[in-house]
Symmetry: C3
Subunit: 662 residues, 3 copies
């Protein structure tokens, strides 16, 4: 439960650096990220390295007791380097080169760029790997930002053909797996295969899915290139990357396997305004706090990607510059967001950025300092957090490190799967369906019941939970089925679960494929509903409406007893229970979804509450955190808990912290 900040000493005169460090300490900051965009200052001309300014900056920070997260400068190669290797540039799906002039001007698959990355990271790691100020490393910055995972340059085509050859071995294997007999798409060699852009109509979905997987693997390899160098020259330092919100274009679990900590960059207001996932009424209601589940969802997701270790590398401190509209946060929102992160297990919350830059692209992006060097609002809220933490530690008679060691495990597990997301985004079958939206609404419904959630990877062990939810697991293979069959709690499968093989095919036994081993249902037909169309649904578990996605199920209990908990007006099953497994064949409205999860949680022995609008709760072991994202003041108490911090009446952005008494 510590604070950090992102800092660009190269933007400011050296004369200011000491004051910066003093001010950081003054508001309780311990960690400082530097360096990730500074290549043109580290190497102003080919081979001419200038470490002096960074040496000096690290010295100042170290002298003030600040711990540095050093970023490798690879997201912004200098112009001279791009001119040396024009083949390193990405191409967009129309075949246009994405050139120099902003950032992330490279494709992950470029071998010429990887050689340069190897060189600069090695030089940097050799110089600073054992530097006493350096606490951790950040690899590159925000992989994929500005839609940079999929690229259609020559380097990408070469990499794709190699990747396919490694995966399939022979071209006939590929033709069979892809079903290329369809539309005479058969190839005679891997060299005939093109990238799936600029086709006359949509390319084969497995062609697209394999390309997405290949591009994701390029990110993994690119990151691993860096981590291997850093492990060698900078042992014992944590390696971190900073992920982004609602970003799914590569498999973050795989990248996370080569790192020590997952961090992410949280901009609650920018994402609220920008994302289609939010309805207009939500955009208005939460315009100054962000959506109540935005932070929580990502904290839980990235804690999984970090194998339990989570940081916030960039926390919004005021208005940003990049959303369609950029309002100011409510008073207290920065503190609220920080505590929300701590309640989900974040070790450090680092603000972006220290001082607002008066020039270039992000000049309207707030910092802890204004451009004139005075404290902005967020600085005071950060300082309040520091004092909150001290107070909490004192009340619990614990050190801050003890506080940080509180368990962050949740009560309910949701399986989030990047491959499923790609699968359904490639062929949504209805514009009203998106994997991410449906997953997020499931997450929200469970969290509105006061439950603490873990998001888990499909490869993880599921033991230790009473309740496991797979909102839309496209492909369930035999190995995963065994893990699911061994699970002793309740399992709910959402619509589209098991509906595809890993080769992007409909399973031989129809959807839900392997799920049929647990629940005897068959998806006879998919009825992908237009927007604003509803079908009534009712049954012992509630009443409501089907929206966006509807499967016509046939429930055929074989040996095991089966119960239809919800059905449509004409009697076809919607939610079917068999032993401890449940299959839900339709997306349903938010109210019914909350009812379903409430029943499921109760069946699993979990206690639930229907929380008031805007209120959310998160537990870390015996400690309970309560937050108010809404506009109305709410009286919030918990029986069996005593209050440690905050008041019972929670106004907008207020929070309270409680301890279980029994």
């Amino acid at each position: 439960m510590k604070l950090g900040v992102c800092y660009y000493p190269e933007h400011w005169p050296k004369a200011r650096w000491v004051q910066d460090a003093q001010q950081m300490r003054e508001i309780g900051i311990e960690y400082v990220r530097v360096g990730e965009f500074s290549w043109s200052r580290l190497e102003p001309a080919p081979g001419e390295l200038d470490w002096s300014w960074l040496d000096e900056s690290l010295a100042v920070l170290h002298q003030h007791g600040l711990k540095v997260v050093l970023g490798t400068p690879t997201p912004t190669p200098p112009k001279w380097l791009v001119d040396q290797h024009p083949d390193m540039l990405a191409k967009d799906e129309n075949g246009n080169v994405r050139g120099f002039g902003s950032r992330r001007h490279y494709t992950f698959a470029s071998t010429s760029y990887r050689t340069e990355v190897d060189r600069i990271v090695t030089l940097m790691a050799q110089r600073y790997g054992e530097h006493p100020a350096v606490y951790a490393w950040q690899t590159d910055n925000e992989y994929g930002c500005h839609d940079t995972i999929l690229s259609y340059a020559d380097a990408d085509l070469i990499a794709f053909r190699i990747w396919l050859k490694e995966k399939y071995g022979s071209i006939s294997e590929l033709n069979t797996a892809w079903g290329n007999v369809f539309w005479s798409m058969e190839y005679r060699s891997f060299d005939e295969i093109e990238l799936p852009n600029l086709t006359v109509t949509e390319a084969n979905p497995i062609h697209r899915l394999d390309f997405q997987r290949c591009c994701s693997d390029q990110v993994v390899a690119y990151n691993k290139l860096q981590t291997e160098i850093l492990r060698k020259f900078s042992p014992d330092r944590d390696l971190i990357h900073n992920y982004m919100g609602f970003f799914t274009a590569f498999d973050h679990y795989k990248v996370g396997n080569d790192l020590d900590i997952a961090s992410w960059d949280t901009y609650p207001l920018g994402f609220l305004d920008q994302e289609d996932i939010y309805r207009d009424d939500e955009k208005q209601r939460y315009m100054r706090t962000g959506h109540p589940d935005f932070g929580a969802f990502h904290h839980d997701l990235y804690r999984a990607c970090g194998k339990g270790r989570l940081w916030i590398m960039e926390q919004q401190p005021g208005p940003v510059n990049w959303a369609p509209h950029n309002p100011a946060p409510a008073n207290g929102a920065v503190r609220l967001w920080t505590w929300e992160a701590f309640s989900h297990g974040a070790e450090v919350v680092s603000y972006f950025r220290w001082r607002q830059a008066p020039f270039a692209q992000e000049q309207m992006h707030a910092g802890l300092l204004r451009t004139d060097g005075e404290y902005a609002e967020a600085a005071f809220e950060a300082k309040q957090v520091s004092s909150d933490v001290e107070q909490l530690a004192h009340q619990l008679d614990l050190s801050v490190d003890d506080l940080m060691a509180l368990p962050s495990k949740g009560q309910v597990a949701l399986v989030f799967d990047y491959d499923s997301c790609w699968t359904f985004d490639i062929q949504p079958q209805s514009n009203a369906y998106r994997y991410m939206s449906w997953f997020y609404r499931c997450y929200e419904a469970i969290r509105k019941l006061g439950l603490s959630i873990d998001i888990v990877s499909p490869q993880s062990e599921f033991e230790g939970y009473e309740m496991l939810v797979l909102p839309a697991q496209a492909n369930i293979d035999q190995e995963m089925l065994l893990r699911l069959q061994a699970f002793e709690g309740r399992i709910l499968f959402g619509p589209r679960s098991g509906s595809k093989t890993s080769d992007y095919r409909i399973p031989d036994n129809l959807a839900p494929g392997k799920v049929q081993a647990l629940v005897d249902v068959v998806v006879e037909r998919v009825d992908a509903l237009p927007k604003h169309t509803q079908l009534n649904v009712y049954g012992s578990w509630g009443r409501g409406a089907i929206q966006n996605w509807h499967e016509q199920l046939k429930a055929e209990p074989k040996e095991r007893p089966q119960e239809v908990l919800l059905k449509t007006d004409n009697g076809t099953p919607v939610l079917v229970k068999q032993l401890n497994s449940y299959y839900l064949g339709s997306c349903v409205d938010d109210g019914l979804l909350e009812q379903i999860f409430s029943r499921l949680a109760q069946s699993s022995g979990l206690t639930t509450n229907f929380l008031p609008e805007g209120i959310r709760v998160r537990d870390r072991g015996p400690i309970r955190f309560a937050f108010n994202y809404g506009n109305e003041t709410r009286e919030i108490t918990f029986s069996g808990y005593e209050k440690l911090l905050g008041s019972n009446a929670l106004g907008q952005c207020d929070l309270s912290i409680w301890r279980a008494t029994s």
Copy 2:
């Protein structure tokens, strides 16, 4: 009144083929289309032909008494062929190559591709031209699908220059005809002319129109290349192409001249959801049946393109995969659509596809069989149709062939003109006006009166009708005028009729040009209304509102008597009658449009009914068919008719069949 199906034996193990054929017979299927996407299987490598699988498949089908429609495989040339002839690929209007990876990756104008087409079609026709299983041929597949008529590649430029030279002879003729003095667009030779894309602002409309005409003629020539080969090696077989819904980018009458039968591919739900022509309330009301006039309109249009002979080559059997949303049809909808087609003269209705493919682009597109090989819902409806036909034949004491010979001619003729559609799409003058929308609403208004409609080409003879409607015939030349003057029934000209010459000019005598020989009106000014703007209109023929298009008319009767049947609030004429001719100068609301056609039909001696919402009727000689596309059950009877099939109470998707008793 026979059934067919589209079948891809190459997708399935040979071991299944016999069972497939048996099941087809079981549900009453007689015709099977095969082969159109199979080039990579027929010629896996350059010059290496493999006919064995097709030989075997045809043998199985023939043994089971099934008649084959053999498709030429030219919509999907294999990758090796594309690599041999990269110049065969189309370019989009931004100049990007439209590459391999899906289908239709060629431009019609490519001479190198035409050489390959000549080769493969010749080989195929030689082998199967006299095969006893082969009943008919389908040339290529869905010309123009995925927006492939207009292409901007080098091959297209070469073809365009040749086409222009042939049309105009000299460049000065072209300059004059095009009005190239405007904006100094004059050329000194045909080699200076470019394609009309990537201009700074819009190109000359006649430049665009001639390019559209040229591209249309390329389709005609491409198709004729195939038909000439097929006529030579496969005499006595019917030649067919399968057209698409709401697709106007080439002149289907001209392509139809070289074929024996016109067929089309009908997807009522996909088109309802996809097309702007339908309002949101229609999209909701008819989401599971399709719009009541969708099938009828196209049946009547393509029967004209087929010179009286019509097939449905692909009939939607369940949810499709390509519309923005893809709901399931209502129970009975597949049967309803099939009978609607028969009532408009379709000889065969063939379903797409036999068995849902579990792989590749269309894996979410339903078939008569599910992916697991079991019957899907549509199979039972198809079987029901087979039994309906038998019942009907029995009741009438006719053979099915006699049934099929019933006349399909309608009572009212509407002139549909591809050239007019292009003309007005190029310069709509108001975003609220589209040729197709206005035409469709005219068709709907007449059909809602219970009338049976023929759509006719502008080159056709108009004799034999009491009532002729030209909703928006852009160019009326002297020859056409003579035919119109010779017509003895009532003629109604809609707005924009006669407003352009064939050179895309305003006629010297202003709009409606040659129509003035029949109705003495002059379009003094066009007042193209913004969306949601209305002008009141009233008169002896009704009351309502002008929408989207308004012409300020001057009505100046010369010798002949004239009557103003509708006028605006300030007295300017809107609908003018002179002898048996009528000129309507504005688009009006649906209710008034129905009123106008009702009056016109009555004046023509036709009996009309204002049918209830969702109900439609079609006659074939003495036999009357009634259909319910709506959600409500309606009591439907006809005096002077006796019922042969169905009940008086028509629920959703029900139909009844009647015979005139007098």
Copy 3:
């Protein structure tokens, strides 16, 4: 107060020319613009000049006493010339060449095209420079039409690098000024700099702003190339260019410096329908008159660009062809628009075009004559204007030249700045904010108070006004500050004033930068509101709502007294007064905006009226003009004025003219 027309003799047979000239005289036309699109007729082949037709046409016009404005034919170079110099073509921001086939197919920066321009303009000026028919010259036509200011071709890159080198001298100066340390965007030489398109995400805003400035300067240089030739060979003739509505992509003040008269092309209905600046209710209410401030705003703007001399070169005479919808003007609208222009100081109002062309792109664009050569409605309205002018002159006992000499200066000055417009369009910070929209709403609010407005350049002297408004002056430098401090009237600064330096940076003292020398406020934070979000505001100057843009102000009076006239619900200042200066930190709703300007005008000693909806007023010295753009008839009188023309009851499109009696 004279009339003109745009004429294309090359479109019509010579036999018609005399009749054309006679008809022009008949309706009171004195000025005729010819030639600007005729290059292919003047030089049908390279070097083969054909002046004969133009000689003859000028002779006919001259014989009939018509004065010619001769257009240089450079907006439409012929195809052979483009083929000689393919490098002259512009490229769009995707890198696609913008080819031949319409008009404006060149980039201003092309040196090869400038050589050709030099040649043809010299030839033309030599031939017609002293021709007695030639009264004035128009350079080219509508610079920038069809988005042709920014181009991304090689010629543009070369010009940009030269421009930057001239501006910055050394690359390190540029790096510092641009803040290129950000994201390692530093360059080592000017040759490394690219154009700001096709970057991965947005380019540096100063990179974009400097490119816009450079492109603007290319227009200035291109125009100057022509004016220098014309000055040389055609002394004493007025030089004119015709600008466009709502077009800001180059600095019109700078182009105007090399010309004698500013003219513009006014299409009130086309722009109403096309522009986002207008709300849907305005689009409906004014669909046949245009918005009441559309003409006025541009007249005042371009009078400033013309250093006091204003023409209307193209006035809409009926429906146009290029807007999304193209309705007909109300009866009287053409006369209304013409008089509105005269009331703002226009010397000549020239209609576009003489006769509607029956061919090519603009065939649906009305003229004074229809395509058949008969008078269209507008001809009669133009004739009415001629007679109005005579009547007015007679009543005032003045010549028309005396009438034209009436002062056109307004009471209130608004500073319009192209550089500010570019600055805020590059980084709007909220999609709900646009410089032009906000400026236009300020203009409207003041004009609805019955005040006559001057728009002035930021470089102009501000003396002579009681009230000066800077709606959003991005950059205020020391020199400008001195002029503002010297100003003796009231000054109101709108939000974002002073918020950027000329290098696109936030000032060291924060926004409003130099304005702080007049009003002691600091913009602590920008709260860029989402659409449909409002904040309440109230105070001694009114009550209303903040919309679209909100600055959190800190008002810290130092020595000078300060008054907070408006504040938000939580007490932060919104409108602050200090001595005679006012800072308004938010965009407010239209009603409150009108209140604020009413108070400000009263404080400045100006008399204001809240005019009825649709009514507008403009004064020229003692003469007052009143106009009705609304649908309702209004009784309009002015105390202290006597009526010269028109009635008190003003119906739609009516106008009245008054003279001050005291």
